[in-house]
């Protein structure tokens, strides 16, 4: 029993060291290209303006949209932006690079990653960060603050924690979505569309759960809970959804994680490296 605990601790400690070194290296790598970072940092938040325009347009035509007032919608959208940006910061770089790794046009090839004693999914899909999206994170936080200040709500500690927990679940869910999309390229020779698909799918997460009814509702609210990005956390925050629902969503995401991981490992097995 004690042996198992020690082994677990050793594994975690090793992972921590790996991620620490990997992060430092990635940071150093990025510092070598300040203009890229600057460009990304300044242009990415501009997309936020578009969504603000959308909200203003919607509320120019109606005073309440699916049970949300304008300021509540700002919180909704700010949360969406925050979740999207966090997912981009932590998971965008390696997953976006995966097709190039497979084709051998990136700096490491997937082949080399496979023979290292590190879990292939961990190695190939995490470890590099998209610092440019940090400004987007700030925009998201700003919008949430704007919305909350415009229309203050009574928020208890439990709701706040539930809000944060669901958001993090949403970030992880986005990772699984991107992973699933990119894993398909092991089966199709030519799939450049992964990134666009990922961002497109996220669009469904901008709206309250109520928008989707019937089978669409089951799809987006339960099976593939894209509404975890915004609607679920915000409704927990405003007390419109019970806090224990987090457990349900955590379970769903766990199942999805298990499925995507199986798909990844199965695809790697069938992998025929193109760099031959």
């Amino acid at each position: 029993m004690k042996g198992m605990g020690a082994k677990m601790w050793q594994k975690i400690s090793r992972l921590y060291h790996y991620f620490r070194i990997s992060f430092i290296m990635d940071l150093k790598s990025n510092i070598a290209y300040p203009t890229t970072f600057l460009f990304a940092f300044t242009t990415i938040p501009l997309w936020g303006i578009l969504q603000i325009l959308l909200i203003e347009t919607i509320y120019g035509q109606t005073s309440q949209f699916l049970g949300y007032t304008k300021y509540e919608n700002y919180v909704l959208f700010g949360t969406w932006k925050l979740v999207q940006s966090l997912a981009a910061v932590f998971f965008f770089v390696r997953l976006e690079d995966l097709p190039d790794k497979v084709k051998g046009t990136s700096d490491w090839s997937l082949d080399m990653m496979l023979i290292k004693p590190l879990d292939s999914q961990l190695f190939a899909t995490t470890g590099k960060y998209w610092f440019g999206s940090l400004s987007s994170v700030m925009v998201g936080i700003g919008l949430i603050a704007y919305g909350l200040m415009g229309q203050p709500h009574q928020i208890g500690i439990g709701q706040a924690i539930g809000y944060l927990a669901n958001m993090l679940l949403g970030v992880f869910f986005l990772y699984l979505v991107f992973l699933f999309i990119q894993t398909w390229l092991f089966w199709f020779e030519y799939l450049e569309i992964g990134e666009s698909m990922w961002f497109t799918v996220q669009q469904f997460g901008e709206f309250p759960q109520r928008l989707y009814s019937g089978s669409l509702g089951i799809l987006f609210n339960i099976l593939l809970p894209i509404t975890l990005m915004a609607s679920v956390p915000v409704e927990v925050l405003f007390g419109k959804m019970p806090i224990w629902m987090f457990g349900v969503y955590a379970l769903i995401v766990l199942v999805l994680f298990w499925l995507t991981r199986w798909f990844w490992q199965y695809s790697i097995k069938k992998y025929s490296s193109f760099s031959s």
């Binding site: 060291h17 290296m25 070598a32 700096d107 490491w108 082949d111 290292k116 097995k269 992998y271 031959s276």
Partner: protein
Amino acid sequence: MSEKVAIEVKGLSKHFSVPVKAEGFGASVKSLFYREYKSVKAVEKISFRIEEGEMVGFLGPNGAGKTTTMKMLSGILYPSNGVVKVLGYNPTDRKPAFQKQISMVMGQKNQLWWDLPATDAYILNKEIFNIPTHEYKQTLDELVALLGVEEILSTPVRKLSLGQRMKCELIAALLHRPKVLFLDEPTIGLDVVTQKKVREFLKKINREMKTTILLTSHYMEDVQAVCPRVIMINRGAKLYDGTIDNLIKTYATEKYLQVDFDNEIPREKLEAIGRVVEYEGTRVVIAVPRVAHAKKAAELLTTYTVDNLDIQEIKLEDIIVKHFSK
């Protein structure tokens, strides 16, 4: 050399399913709805054994199946058929215990980070392979001294020359003191001096670290300088397995003389000296028996006015064509 078997391969095969490319516009439209596939036999029933501490060269023309075989030995590719055992493990299981004992260098982009100095990649490898610090330092110092790269370790990799990069890659590959090292075309694109250095280095680490080394190349000189044993592969099949001396003695019985004459010499006259392989006006390539090549060269030089004479090794493809084609 110990008696322990490092690599054992029996009846190894790898088939790829490749879509048939459509020719012409009409066929392209058809391919939208229906795709034909054909089976490509990259590796077909190869068997061999390699013992610990051996240095073996895989020789063969491009596309022969050498890289594919190596990828199956390292666990990157899944064999279609046959048995592979490396250090007692099944490579495709990719057990960490197995992965910690092997290493691979394939082409140029392997484990270094483009924008950072090589030392950063080494530290990362240290973490990945869980190398204890004192052992890491010792091995690193040893390898750096052997290759003489102290000064370039803190330069970003993208600023290094190809030769320097290759040396840094080799160090990265050996930090965890693997028992087996796979090298795919390690000297391709390198200048002559670096090629020599790399070959010397490989021989040294084989001697001192007892590393089993497998290297593929389509240059015979590569293998000749480094490996006592060579396995020749063509079109996925094993054609020869033995010492390189024997290979040369048995099959490379000729050498090529590439001559640039001052004026055109009639072909029949040259046929008296040797077998004319190429004839293009003033440039001629003549094949002469290996043992007599110096004499034949001298004969050419004294009989005719020669602008330039090059003595070349018979090409590998020619050995294959001459002795192994069906």
